[in-house]
């Protein structure tokens, strides 16, 4: 994969500019944490990136997850792989999943603690469970770069660690909006601090402590 770049990117919300103009280059293997107060434009930045890089196999894990509540956990995860199959195969899967897809997806669910939920409709899950289903879908989708918006915000300590580890294992290159600074510093190797729609901190994470990031908040 080549480097990805944004040139003078902007995002507007109605008449107000919420982001940019800003420029940014991401090299393969960089896992970037976006940090900053809520509402400073982290989500907007991720949307801009997705719009720009969708054709280059960017995988999106949005804050509102994008799950289909009426479909089962299995099918929601399977949706990550829709583009890899023909239409008839996808329609048949909707009626009855194929064995090999079950064998691919079940271990993923086991590791996320959702092993017994494969057949449950997503609408019946708790917030934390739903967030893990969305993570599983992103992992099943794969792709060159992960764009995730608060991927573990609804998860408690140990579960958040598991999901973060699985995400960074599946995507060597990623941009993650994070509110947990400690997790951000441990699982990412580059930190972007966002303030007023611009980048005010851009440092390798091993040179930062959570205290250095406090002024952003």
């Amino acid at each position: 994969m080549q480097s990805l770049a944004l040139q003078d990117a902007v995002a507007d919300y109605g008449a107000t500019r919420v982001l940019g103009p800003l420029s940014l280059t991401i090299d393969p293997g960089e896992r970037i944490a976006l940090v900053g107060k809520s509402g400073v434009g982290k989500s907007s930045l991720l949307s801009v990136m997705y719009a720009q890089w969708r054709d280059r196999e960017a995988t999106l894990l949005p804050q509102d997850l994008g799950l289909v509540p009426t479909l089962s956990v299995f099918h929601n995860v399977y949706m990550g792989g829709l583009a890899r199959h023909r239409a008839w195969y996808n329609l048949a899967t909707l009626l009855r999943p194929f064995h090999r897809d079950r064998q691919t997806i079940q271990p993923l669910l086991e590791r996320l603690g959702l092993g017994d939920k494969a057949r449950s409709p997503c609408g019946e899950l708790s917030g934390g469970q739903r967030q893990r289903v969305a993570a599983a879908r992103a992992i099943h989708q794969g792709g060159g770069i992960l764009l995730a918006d608060e991927p573990v915000s609804a998860l408690d300590g140990p579960q958040a660690e598991v999901v973060m580890q699985m995400l960074v294992d599946a995507f060597p290159t990623a941009v993650l909006a994070m509110h947990d600074l400690d997790l951000a510093l441990r699982y990412c190797n580059r930190v972007l601090g966002i303030h007023d729609g611009g980048i005010v901190i851009d440092q390798p994470s091993d040179r930062l402590t959570t205290n250095d990031l406090m002024p952003l908040y």
């Binding site: 969708r54 054709d55 196999e57 995988t59 999106l60 894990l61 949005p62 509102d64 997850l65 994008g66 799950l67 289909v68 509540p69 009426t70 479909l71 099918h75 949706m79 990550g80 792989g81 829709l82 583009a83 890899r84 199959h85 023909r86 239409a87 996808n90 329609l91 909707l94 879908r137 989708q141 792709g143």
Partner: protein, 496 residues
């Protein structure tokens, strides 16, 4: 603000209805109306199930026409829903659904004759127009986010099915099931124009004075609709749909020369057919408008407005029958609620046309049977929905009881949804009012029917088009009113 506005609008409608009342004809002309009613009641109490073939045939055909018609309508409607963003599709759907099933049946009868295709298309075509609109709305309401996160390169069909359709599916199923109930009523009513369904058997039983058979037919029909949710199961549905086309009966064969003659000669306006050109067409149209369309429109509007207000009054008076705030939730309350449900099921399952037909036998031809039939049927439907809505309200524990509870706690809370529902039914009531003309009440349907009897299909087509435009106009007006009163429509999509 909204409350005083809705009050003003309500009072305006009531005043208008009073004025209409002064212009209408509401005389009971039959000699002994109550004796006839007594006979029908006797028939209901002591139904005659002896003629099993006859009853079985009536029910079987009614079911078969409903399933095939609604099934085709749903399939066609779904395809149209996917194209609903195009103006021409929306216009097409608005026109086909503004024309009543029976008008479609009358049209198809002229060239397909008494072939099953006539009945099937008469249901399928207007239903496709309605399904298209509602399915499109349901699909639009689904969350766009899942589609947004789909992997690049997902084919269109998978994308649609996994995201929008998967979310919309439960709503699509429940709406389609609801329309099936409407379809059963439509199918029954098609019997009045000669299809081999319930209405046909009912009409002949009436003509023979066989009130026991009338009672048996009605009771079977109520049972069929009342138990719908037990025998219409998602798993059984494919079976029904496969079996239904084989149970339509054979009817009479189609004469294809009639089909071509209908399109090339019959529906061409007479002056054009006779080569008189535009000079002939204008007086022909003027004559048609002044002598038939205008009186028809006038009577249709008159009846619609009166029936609308009466429907509203009846609905607000009857919804407590099924509201647990009034029946109570436990012990005898449940029983009372159940009885209330039965009353409303009977009211809403009886198609207007059937009710009007019965009342017409009782009271003779005037506007009275039509208004009563429309108000009873539509009032039953709205009372049912408002009652359901009221059951979602939680009252404080020390809320007043009885009439105070009605006036202060419940009625003010359900009045907004009630008005929304009533305005939804405005167009439906008008469509039904027009069609009641085929029973001899001088609304637009009367003139359509007479034109057809006189084999003047050109006139009939113009009148049907005028009826459709009138319906579309009322629909637009109702939408404006709902917006003005800020009545949200999310509660329900009842429309038959």
């Amino acid at each position: 603000m909204s409350r005083s506005a809705s009050l003003r609008v309500s009072l305006g409608f009531i005043a208008l209805a009073m004025v209409c009342l002064a212009f209408g004809d509401f005389e009971i002309s039959t000699h002994d109306p109550w004796q006839e009613l007594g006979r029908i009641f006797l028939g209901l109490i002591a139904p005659d199930f002896a003629a099993v073939d006859f009853l079985g045939e009536a029910i079987l055909r009614t079911l078969a026409f409903a399933f095939v018609g609604v099934g085709l309508g749903a399939a066609g409607g779904f395809l149209l829903a996917l194209l609903f963003r195009h103006l021409w599709v929306r216009t097409f759907c608005a026109v086909v659904r503004a024309i009543h099933e029976l008008f479609w049946a009358l049209i198809f009868l002229q060239f397909f004759g008494l072939h099953p295709l006539t009945g099937v298309l008469a249901i399928a075509i207007p239903y496709a127009g309605i399904f298209a609109k509602v399915y499109a709305e349901i699909l639009d309401e689904s969350d766009p986010q899942p589609a947004h996160t789909l992997p690049r390169g997902t084919d269109h069909v998978s994308g649609l099915v996994y995201t929008r359709l998967a979310q919309a599916w439960p709503h699509v199923v429940s709406y389609t099931a609801y329309r099936l109930e409407c379809g059963l009523r439509s199918s029954a009513v098609l019997g009045f124009v000669g299809m081999p369904t319930l209405g046909f058997y009912l009409e002949s039983a009436f003509a023979q004075g066989a009130y026991g058979s009338v009672g048996a037919l009605l009771i079977l029909f109520y049972l069929l609709i009342g138990t719908l949710r037990w025998w219409v199961r998602p798993r059984l549905l494919p079976l029904y749909l496969i079996a239904a086309p084989f149970l339509l009966g054979t009817g009479l064969p189609i004469v294809w020369s009639n089909v071509s003659r209908f399109f090339t000669q019959d529906i061409v306006p007479a002056p054009l057919r006779n080569g008189e050109g535009l000079e002939g067409l204008i007086p022909w149209l003027g004559n048609l408008l002044v002598n038939q369309a205008l009186p028809g429109i006038w009577n249709t509007l008159l009846l619609t407005q009166i029936a609308l207000v009466l429907t509203g009054i009846l609905a607000m008076a009857l919804f407590p029958l099924i509201s647990h705030h009034f029946t109570g939730r436990h012990g005898t309350g449940r029983l009372k609620g159940m009885l209330g449900h039965i009353v409303l099921v009977v009211m809403r399952s009886t198609p207007e046309l059937l009710l009007a037909f019965i009342l017409l036998q009782l009271w003779g031809p005037s506007m009275l049977p039509a208004v009563a039939a429309l108000a009873l049927h539509n009032g039953g439907i709205i009372a049912h929905l408002v009652g359901q809505r009221s059951n979602q309200i939680t009252l404080r524990q020390d809320a007043p009881r009885g009439i105070d509870r009605y006036a202060y706690e419940v009625a003010p809370r359900v009045y907004g949804p009630f008005l929304a529902l009533l305005f939804y039914r405005w167009e439906i009531i008008m469509r039904e009012t027009a069609i009641l003309g085929i029973l001899g009440i001088t609304t637009l349907g009367f003139y359509v029917d007479s034109a057809i009897q006189e084999i003047r299909f050109d006139r009939a087509m113009v009148l049907i088009l005028i009826t459709a435009l009138l319906n579309i106009g009322v629909d637009i007006l109702a939408r404006r009113l709902r917006n003005y009163l800020r009545l949200r429509h999310s509660i329900n999509r009842q429309s038959c």
